[in-house]
């Protein structure tokens, strides 16, 4: 088995300088290895730090202590404290992230939002749009919506655009934050299929699934994050 992601003794606290320097510890000594073709579900009560850990892996949260290494183009690369340009290179090729919110330029068409990660990797615009269209069709997003920017879409429609964007490029490592939330049964099944296919091609996946059935359907094991007692 190939290890794709190795977290070693990762801790995080937030220091709120404008709240009298309040220190909020969130994670203490988390260690986790995820292999190719494996899906690990992060579990724990709301506020325990599941999304925080995911953002530390993605790099939009800093990792002050511990190590987060990822297999990028054949070699393990340290992400904790990495140069921003290295993080961007890892995100472009290796590390995909489906967040709970879609953040895009207001005027860009849905089809281009989904195709963008492929174009950034040098794929031709036609091929990238074709792949984007396949995914949107599979996720039952009406073709009439493709030329429109997703800003005015419903929550479920935006979520499907977000998922299509996250699955457009076959990332070796995928982070999924509540990918089935706000989806109906049929679309939920499509997302679980996509996750299954990603595992089958060897992707390492870290997911947060509040829906226990979804979690049971795709996760190989769970990783419990216990809330830390906040200093009162």
């Amino acid at each position: 088995m190939t290890d794709m992601l190795r977290l070693c003794d990762v801790s995080k606290d937030f220091v709120l300088h404008n709240q009298g320097g309040a220190e909020i510890p969130v994670l203490l000594g988390a260690s986790l290895t995820v292999n190719a073709g494996e899906c690990v579900a992060l579990t724990g009560p709301s506020g325990a730090g599941k999304s925080t850990l995911m953002r530390m892996i993605y790099g939009n949260y800093l990792t002050p202590t511990g190590s987060i290494r990822i297999r990028h183009e054949g070699a393990m690369v340290e992400l904790a404290g990495a140069d921003p340009r290295r993080v961007l290179a890892v995100r472009r090729r290796t590390l995909g992230y489906v967040s709970q919110f879609l953040r895009v330029v207001p005027r860009v068409a849905t089809l281009d939002v989904v195709a963008e990660p492929l174009i950034a990797l040098g794929e031709g615009a036609e091929a990238a749009r074709a792949r984007a269209g396949d995914l949107l069709r599979r996720l039952n997003l009406p073709e009439a919506l493709w030329p429109l920017p997703p800003a005015t879409f419903s929550g479920g429609e935006q979520q499907r655009v977000n998922i299509a964007r996250g699955f457009a490029h076959p990332y070796p490592v995928l982070l999924l934050d509540e990918p089935t939330a706000s989806l109906d049964g049929a679309n939920r099944a499509v997302v679980l299929e996509l996750i299954g296919e990603a595992k089958a091609r060897g992707a390492a996946i870290v997911g947060i699934f509040h829906d226990a059935d979804a979690r049971a359907a795709v996760a190989d094991r769970t990783f419990e994050i216990a809330p830390l007692a906040t200093a009162a």
């Binding site: 300088h17 949260y61 800093l62 290179a89 207001p106 005027r107």
Partner: protein
């Protein structure tokens, strides 16, 4: 945005070392250092008076710094010290390799001559002489910046603010610069016009693999355009990093205040 240079060991296009500019006893900017690679967009954020425009002007060769160096790697790979070279050489670089987009299009355009001439002039300044070729290139740039080519003979004073800003961008990019400086490029525009301009800028930066330094006080603009951020306060850089990291997990007290002070629509 996702187009910064892949090769981490490549030589930077620009290296700024310990730059300082003082206005009498008042500090413009102090001890600023950063590097920039081809295809990379660096956002400089901070409130008015934080020194971000002073920094931009020193780096762009429009102001002479009191200390520090600006090193530019030219098309042949030779490193040139911007404030160490002779004035004509610096002017040549600014014409051929660099471009500046002002907040107010009136500062970057000639309002009395036609749109086509505004785009054609920088081409002539780098040696283009054939009238037909210049006019056709100007037309292409108008189309690229979403200006009706039928307006090519109209002066920009007859254009709306958004059109003027797009024309300024066409004029600044026409001669094929490698490095573009932007001072609040979407400031003063209506929100819907801003969105269109941001989309246009993102597309052009990726397509032309430009290196860009963009000064803005608007954190949403910074998030959409830039790969990395410098946060400035009182003339100094207080925080740097990956754009979404600085905005989602700010470390410095000032950055935390700045991020938490933004109104959410």
């Amino acid at each position: 945005m996702t187009s910064s240079s892949e090769d981490l060991d490549a030589q930077p296009l620009l290296a700024v070392e310990d730059l300082a500019k003082r206005y009498g006893r008042h500090m413009g900017c102090e001890a600023v250092s950063f590097r920039l690679w081809p295809g990379e967009v660096l956002g400089v954020v901070g409130e008015s008076g934080s020194g971000k425009t002073t920094l931009l002007n020193c780096v762009a060769g429009r102001l002479t710094p009191d200390a520090g160096r600006v090193l530019y790697s030219d098309r042949l790979g030779a490193v040139r010290d911007l404030h160490g070279i002779a004035e004509p050489e610096r002017r040549m670089l600014m014409r051929t390799d660099w471009a500046f987009v002002h907040q107010n299009p009136r500062d970057g355009l000639r309002m009395g001559v036609s749109a086509g001439a505004n785009v054609g002039e920088p081409l002539m300044a780098v040696g283009a002489r054939n009238y037909g070729a210049i006019r056709s290139a100007a037309g292409d740039w108008l189309a690229k910046t979403e200006i009706d080519v039928g307006r090519i003979d109209d002066p920009p004073r007859t254009f709306s603010g958004g059109m003027q800003q797009r024309l300024q961008i066409a004029r600044s990019l026409a001669a094929g610069p490698r490095l573009v400086f932007m001072d609040e490029p979407t400031g003063g525009l209506d929100v819907s016009v801003q969105a269109r301009l941001l989309d246009l800028l993102r597309g052009l930066v990726t397509e032309l693999k430009l290196a860009v330094i963009v000064v803005t006080h608007d954190l949403a603009v910074a998030r959409l355009l830039s790969h990395r951020l410098l946060v400035m306060r009182g003339g100094r850089v207080v925080e740097t990093g990956l754009t979404d990291q600085v905005l989602d997990d700010p470390q410095h007290p000032y950055t935390q205040l700045l991020v938490s002070s933004v109104l959410q629509p």
